[in-house]
Amino acid sequence: MGWLTSLTSFFVNPALVLPGLALVSSPIIIHLINRMRYRRVRFAAMEFLLASSKRNRRRVLIEQMILLLLRILLVLLIMFLLARLVLNPDTMSLFRGAKTHHMVVLDDSGSMREIIGEGSAFREAVSVVQKLIDEGKQRPDSQKLTLVLLSNPAEPLVNQENINDELATRLETRLENINCTHQHFNLTNGLAVAGKLFANDTESIKHLHVISDFRQNDWSDKDAIEKRMAELKAGEVAVNLVKVVPKQNNNVAITLLEGNLRVAAAGVPITFTVGVTNFGDTVIEAKSVSVSVDGIQINKSVEFAEIEPGEEQAQTLEVAFNSSGRHAIKVSLDVDALSHDNERFLVFDLPDTLPVLIVDGNPGSDGARNLADALEAGQFAYVPQVVDASFLRKSPLDPFRTIYMLNVPTMQPDALDRLQEYVAGGGGLVWFVGNLVEDDFYFTDLHKNENRYGLDKIGLFPVPLAETPDDLDHPEFRDLAADVAFESTSIFANFKDFFRSSFFDVIRIDKFYPPAENWSSDDEIRKDGVRTLAQLRNGKPFCLEHQYGKGTVVTFLTGIDDEWNNWTRDPAGLSFIVAIHDMQKLISSEVGELKQYTVGTPIHRELSLSSYSKTVEIVAPGMPPVAIEASPPGLATTDDEASLNGSADPAAGDDAKTADTKTDEKTADQDVPKPESSGRSDIYIADFADTDTPGVYSVKLTTVDRETEETLYAFNVPTEESALKLATTDEIRGTLGDESAAQIQEPGNFTWLQGKEADQEIRRFILALLMLFLLAEQLLSYKLSYHPKPGSDA
């Protein structure tokens, strides 16, 4: 019956095709019946009749055949007229047949905000929806509409409602008020939800209209899309992809804004990296990125000379902040086709000082003092604190950005635990060995100790040490080879560039702790995650780096006092200071956490009622402050949030997380208390989901002492949505798979909607043909029949 399906696709009223085809046989049947049911006449003048028959047989046959053919054609043409033949099914209206269910998946992702003409791609898409409704309401109650926003497919705006004037009026204002989000959504989720919604409808003819801009980004996941399309096809859903963006615009977006805040403090210049990506097809020249700090534009900008198409270029910017505390920085570009990605925000908490802990195994030695001096040098805000090993057992380690372990012979197990916890949580750790080091402890407890976090094979100390330190044999006269050769690695990259070889030459290493004999000094052979940052002249490692949990551990296999080397003394002392500071920038724990989120991520705050009041005030960019009430875990439902948001649009108030999750999972979440807060009954949760607008959000908590604590959150648009490169029809077809019969509508082409006119042209032609055939049939049948002359033969 495939031919029949393909045949019916040429008709606006396919239901009439089969009866029409059946009727085609009627002239033949009538003819056959006439042949079978004849009158019997005994006739005398057979001679003349036979002569006439003999003479006219061929003519009569041909005439009869022509007449029969004409009558069949007449029936066919009438069927064409009634069933409304359309030559090109692509131009056919979707509003045909009996009960039709139109599901519209409206893409409201960030890229739909692209400016097209006087409106945006999203407005264009909304107008397509309105056109669809206008068309559908002309056949009231025979068309059903389900309208799904890609941002929230689980909760359709309209769910299987009959398209009629009432719905059209209701939706008109509602559609105008829908705003396009700034977020990135996966198209396959929309398709999956559409498939599920359609599964409940077994009666109607199903049409899925995906109205989107169809960027290449959306069509990269071929397997998933192919799978969804196959599911839809299996569900007998006709897929109609409606493009709304006619041509691709160039777009330049700020795709990166980050700052090195490990060593940031008030008054210390902070290096920010600004990345600009050219998503267009042409080279972009002379782009200037302006910078605002705490809402005020500063007299600094980042200049980009030339950016190739598709290239992301990064430039650095140094900004010093005079005061500690919360700061927000915003970088922005000129407005282009897609404006919201021309800005990027970053907020951070700037500390006054950067505490550093120096644990000295040999209290009173010069090493700790030299190190403290080195840290305090320059414009940095380091506050070193020299303690002995017992400090680790007593005091909290979290405030310290880095912990230096100098010649620490051994540690109590609880101290070791706390140190491990500190490093695994992101803290920086630097080892300097010394005479007191107990190689057994270092091997058994520090190196081999399988840490309890199960993160690494290697413990806090990267190598098994030899039993005793070794002397590096100095040649009498220096040759070109330095004692230490630094690798071009992350920590010492700048260092090496800056100092050149002459500065290395002055570093003299007298003693060092070699690794155990069986320890290979080749990183590639060991592959244990430990990197050699610097080697001694004899090939033994001098400086090693490895990750422990979130933290970084740097190990110097030498001591820090004069007995071991001259690094802390002039002339090599300068390089020591620089090395320590560079290292600090990379291994310090990040206390001033970068609060940078993607729009749509809900703000989730847990607060203890013993410290804070339940009311949380949230200031979204460009919006008046909104007060929400924190609720106990497990009670925070989507509906509550929506009502607390104070948002005018209920649909936009939904938890954005649900955009990518399924409905049933969401329901399950509501009953299960959040794990992190299940233990304490006074922990309340405040969720704020309406974070679609990019910018800086301020969350203010009020303490029981009526003091306000403010936290800033930076929300930026996802970079995926900045890539405006359109998927061509061929690319879409390629992604859909060969099996898919989806229709793809080009932008501005609405003939698929206005299909009622699609058969206009052919209808006139058929009508003319019908008249012609009728006339021919009448003439022929008149000719073939007997008509007595009037008045003759009374």
Partner: protein, 303 residues
């Protein structure tokens, strides 16, 4: 059975024919003096002409007055009224059985025969009848008795029409039977081989008979007004045909017209009166039209 033949004597029709005079166009040999001019020269008051004596002529007819004046032998010839001897040759073959109207051709033909018989007998003319199909089926001798009509009607009704017409044999038989010249009225649809018919007519004319053909045709045979698919079952073993009559009508009419034209042409050539009569026509009208036409058509011709 005895009353059956009377159906051919439709009183109202016969009464209307009553007012007409049946007149022979040719002078027919007869025994009785009457209204008709005799084709024979006999004893009469009306002198017609003299003719030179030829050996074999009756010497009693020599006009001696002329001989006395001219010394030559002339004989006197007179015009003589005589009885009309009419032979009705009625086709009772199967094809005559056809009829879509009130009467079949056979019935119509018999009615004509009866009417003519009645008319002629009233005028003291002698009437004989031969009914035929393939062969001569019945023969009624020529008589002028009033009640002779019953014999003729019986001869007609006794026959159940069947089989194929073979007219030459019949006409030959008629010619042989009718040694005296008279009028031969052939009542038939003439659905016979044309050659045989023409040959027979020629023979009759050759024998000096005045031949009249009453060509009886049914309306449907002439007009072919059938509609709808029809199976035509041929009479006289002519075969069957299923057809849409509308489509064959033109060809059929053409063939029939051709047939009639043939007959008319041939009859005209042989001085045979030919008249097509539809079975739907009023019998008297047809007869009177024919007879009137016949009276005015030609002057008497003597041999």
């Amino acid at each position: 059975m005895t009353q059956d033949y009377r159906r051919f004597l439709r009183p109202e029709e016969l009464s209307r024919i009553d007012r007409l005079e049946v007149r022979a166009r040719h002078i027919v040999e007869g025994f009785l003096s009457g209204m008709h001019r005799s084709p024979y020269f006999g004893q009469s008051v009306e002198f017609v002409q003299h003719r030179e004596y030829a050996p074999g002529d009756d010497v009693r007819k020599i006009d001696w007055k002329v001989w006395s004046k001219t010394d030559k032998y002339y004989i006197k010839q007179y015009e003589e009224d005589t009885n009309l001897r009419t032979t009705l040759v009625v086709d009772v073959s199967e094809s005559m059985q056809f009829g879509e109207g009130a009467m079949t051709k056979y019935e119509y033909g018999c009615t004509i025969a009866a009417s003519l018989t009645h008319l002629l007998l009233r005028q003291q003319d002698a009437v004989g009848m031969i009914a035929f199909d393939e062969n001569v089926r019945s023969t009624v001798p020529t008589r002028s008795k009033k009640n002779h009509i019953h014999s003729i009607l019986q001869g007609l009704s006794a026959e159940s029409p069947r089989e194929k017409t073979d007219i030459f044999r019949v006409l030959k038989h008629v010619a042989e039977q009718q040694s005296r010249r008279g009028m031969i009225v052939l009542i038939s649809d003439c659905f016979v081989p044309r050659d045989g018919l023409f040959k027979g007519l020629k023979l009759l004319r050759h024998r000096g008979h005045d031949v009249l053909i009453m060509h009886v045709m049914d309306d449907q045979e002439l007009d072919f007004d059938y509609t709808g698919t029809t199976r035509f079952i041929g009479m006289e073993e002519m075969g069957d045909l299923v057809c849409n009559p509308k489509s064959l009508r033109d060809g059929y009419i053409k063939a029939v017209t051709q047939f009639q034209d043939d007959l008319r042409l041939h009859c005209a050539r042989n001085m045979v009166d030919f008249q097509t009569i539809r079975t739907s026509e009023h019998l008297d009208a047809a007869l009177s039209h024919y007879l009137n036409h016949r009276i005015g058509m030609r002057q008497s011709v003597r041999n």
